[in-house]
């Protein structure tokens, strides 16, 4: 066992040391380093998603430093908000207080964005979110003046799913499942409206994340005699659901959004994912040379494949870096914010540009399908439905 006295002495010492260093901190900005931060869940239940994005940001920064096109050195700063609204303010303020930080990729979750954005707005530090999709975030009433959304909101994908089912598959009855997250509920809400407008019968149910047993839900899907299914959620939960659906003998079509459009979905669900349709506002992510190189570099740097939103975070970071380049050394927070708001950047996944509320511009949604254990590109949804 531990020596009692030593522990008794060591703990206050350690805590004291932490306290001293913690208070004495506060790094000033060097003339030749600029910092780009990421705010998202780096601890807690959603770390996997946060790490995907963090790695994307890190990779972009490392590559820019390696290329040496900038006359300043870029540095990465992590801002962990656990994906929770109540932890986001402290995380945001910490980033704002660091004068070296010129831009933030994030916040990753809509809830955290809601509480952190007033602080960012006040400070003028720009935030470009790769994944916060709640449509209300860009409501001008919020006065989130520093928020740019680097991802199309739920409306576009939800509507695309509805049109595809209505026009291409001529579905009669659609079973709509959301995962009770902000993302899933938003997506499902939009899809429901679209389906109802097209006169399709909708069964809307929810299956929260981490449900212990998806068998009952799968049975309910089969019993409902729906000929198509929409799952609005993330791949972690879509995978066991897909398995149980296959076991329950579900034969209809199944579609899901960019939260599931991830190689790990196939890895986790095996052949149960076969023929699943996946939408994504991103263009073909497997064919282009740039994407392939990204994938390989990512694999090399982090010993794993890029996940959901990795590429988006990478793109957004590169977009920020490009703007920093054009500013030639004199990088001010407000100036960078205004420059980014007006900029247009063609990344690996899509072209990024924003409207006056910071909303993502562009409505194209693309369709993919799992075939032979690979996510195969099908084309633009609008073109597919003709």
């Amino acid at each position: 066992m531990l020596n009692k006295t030593i522990v008794k002495l060591a703990i206050p010492l350690a805590v004291g040391a932490l306290a001293l260093t913690g208070c004495g901190g506060g790094s000033g900005s060097d003339g030749d380093t600029l910092k780009i931060a990421f705010q998202g869940p780096l601890s807690g239940d959603n770390v996997a998603l946060g790490e995907n994005m963090q790695n994307g940001v890190k990779l972009a920064i490392d590559q820019a430093n390696a290329k040496g096109e900038l006359d300043v050195k870029l540095e990465y700063v992590a801002g962990d908000d656990q994906g929770l609204p109540d932890k986001a303010t402290a995380a945001a303020q910490k980033l704002i207080d660091d004068p070296g930080i010129v831009a933030v990729v994030g916040p990753a979750f809509s809830g955290a964005t809601n509480t952190a954005s007033p602080l960012y707005a006040e400070s003028g530090l720009v935030t470009v979110s790769p994944s916060a999709t709640n449509p209300t975030l860009t409501d001008p009433k919020n006065k989130f003046t520093s928020l740019l959304r680097g991802v199309p909101n739920d409306n576009q994908q939800g509507a695309a799913m509805a049109t595809y089912f209505a026009k291409k598959l001529n579905a009669k009855k659609v079973y709509l499942l959301d995962d009770k997250t902000d993302y899933g509920a938003g997506l499902a809400g939009v899809a429901e409206e679209g389906l109802k407008a097209a006169g399709i019968e909708v069964v809307k149910k929810s299956v929260p994340q981490k449900t212990p047993d998806y068998s009952a839900t799968a049975k309910d899907v089969v019993n409902s005699k729906a000929d198509a299914l929409i799952y609005a959620g993330y791949y972690q939960d879509a995978a066991p659901l897909a398995k149980k659906l296959k076991e329950a003998g579900y034969k209809g079509a199944a579609i899901s959004g960019d939260g599931v459009n991830d190689a790990k979905f196939i890895e986790l669900s095996g052949d149960a994912s076969e023929n699943w349709l996946l939408t994504c506002p991103c263009t073909d992510a497997t064919v282009e040379a740039g994407t392939k190189a990204f994938s390989a570099d990512y694999q090399k740097a982090f010993n794993r494949a890029p996940g959901t939103y990795s590429a988006e975070a990478y793109d957004i970071t590169n977009m920020i870096i490009e703007q920093i380049k054009t500013m030639k050394g004199d990088v001010q927070r407000e100036a960078l914010r205004d420059a980014l708001a007006k900029a247009s950047y063609k990344g690996l996944t899509k072209t990024f540009s924003f409207d006056e509320n910071g909303e993502f511009k562009g409505t194209d949604v693309y369709l993919y399908q799992v075939k032979g254990g690979k996510i195969a590109y099908q084309g633009n949804v609008n073109e597919l439905v003709g």
Partner: protein, 307 residues
């Protein structure tokens, strides 16, 4: 809901419930001897799942295995999970609980220690094994093996149910027929007197933890097999199984089985009636109702006759 559908869901519920029952037994056993709400049991369960994953990583099952090979894989995975679960529970008792017991600390302190240990273990697992979920490799062809009045039961579900039944029978025999079982019952009744009568309390408690840990570990494997493994997988089934143990009558092994199956049925029935999102709510409502009208659980609390 037609009668056939009702029956289908009932069978599904029993199968899920038997999984809860195996976890609940771990809670109940520890409660029996220590009167301790072992919050860290859900982490024992989680590490059990990783135990089976690691074993299967070594064996790496072939595609389309023969029936015999399938049984071998399952047995190996189960052994791995039992080992991990048992070792974790043993370590937990030795490191976290024994020093407290020596001091006669109040149970609240145990509770906080359990919470601390739980935090530590699940974050450690996330660090060691990565934070994405993982699935077990396919060990057998998961087809329907039998039909109970029209409701199909597949291999995974049968495995769950059979394991639960076998474990409960073994445990029942162990507690009622063996010397260790006598020790467990004696400690549960009155630890002080038991120690005066020559029962080595430390050893009995330690072994009880190991037995509970083995069960928790195997349950972890079964859960990973049904769903998937991740470092946060313990929390929700842990709380549910804990509720099940209380519903059945905490400290009572048969009660844990009954409570587990009842909660499993209630949860599964909620899905077609109210929707999956109300699953836990209905389980908790059942818990509160049972406690209000039968405060000792369905089969009665039997601390001291922990069988």
């Amino acid at each position: 809901m037609s009668l056939q559908e009702f029956w289908d869901y009932l069978v599904l519920g029993v199968m899920l419930g038997s999984l809860y029952a195996v976890i609940a037994i771990g809670y109940t056993l520890v409660y029996g001897v220590l009167q301790l709400l072992n919050f860290a049991h859900s982490e024992v369960f989680m590490l059990g799942a990783y135990g089976s994953l690691i074993v299967l990583q070594f064996v790496s099952p072939a595609d389309n295995p023969s029936a015999l090979a399938s049984i071998g894989y399952v047995a190996l995975a189960m052994a791995g999970s039992a080992l991990f679960g048992g070792v974790t529970a043993y370590g937990l008792e030795k490191v976290a609980y024994r020093p407290l017991r020596r001091r006669g600390a109040p149970r609240l302190i145990f509770l906080i220690t359990a919470i601390g240990a739980s935090f530590f273990l699940y974050n450690l697992a996330g660090k060691l094994f990565g934070r994405d979920p993982m699935t077990l490799p396919e060990m057998y062809d998961n087809h329907n093996v039998l039909t109970i009045f029209g409701a199909g039961v597949n291999v995974t579900q049968l495995l769950q149910f059979a394991t639960a039944v076998v474990m409960m029978i073994c445990l029942d025999l162990l507690v009622n027929r063996t010397k260790l079982g006598k020790g467990i019952r004696a400690v549960a009744q009155d630890a002080e007197v038991a120690s005066l009568m020559g029962v080595d309390i430390d050893r009995v408690i330690s072994r009880t933890f190991v037995i509970g840990g083995v069960m928790g570990g195997v349950a972890g494997f079964l859960f990973a097999n049904l769903n998937q493994a991740s470092y946060t997988m313990g929390f929700i089934p842990g709380i549910t199984a804990f509720a099940a143990a209380v519903v059945g009558g905490i400290g009572n092994i048969r009660g844990a089985m009954a409570g587990g199956i009842l909660i499993g049925i209630v949860e599964t029935m909620t899905v077609p009636l109210l929707g999956d999102q109300w699953r836990s709510v209905s389980a908790m409502v059942v818990l509160i109702l049972v406690l209000m009208f039968r405060p000792m659980g369905i089969l009665g609390e039997r601390v001291g006759r922990a069988a």
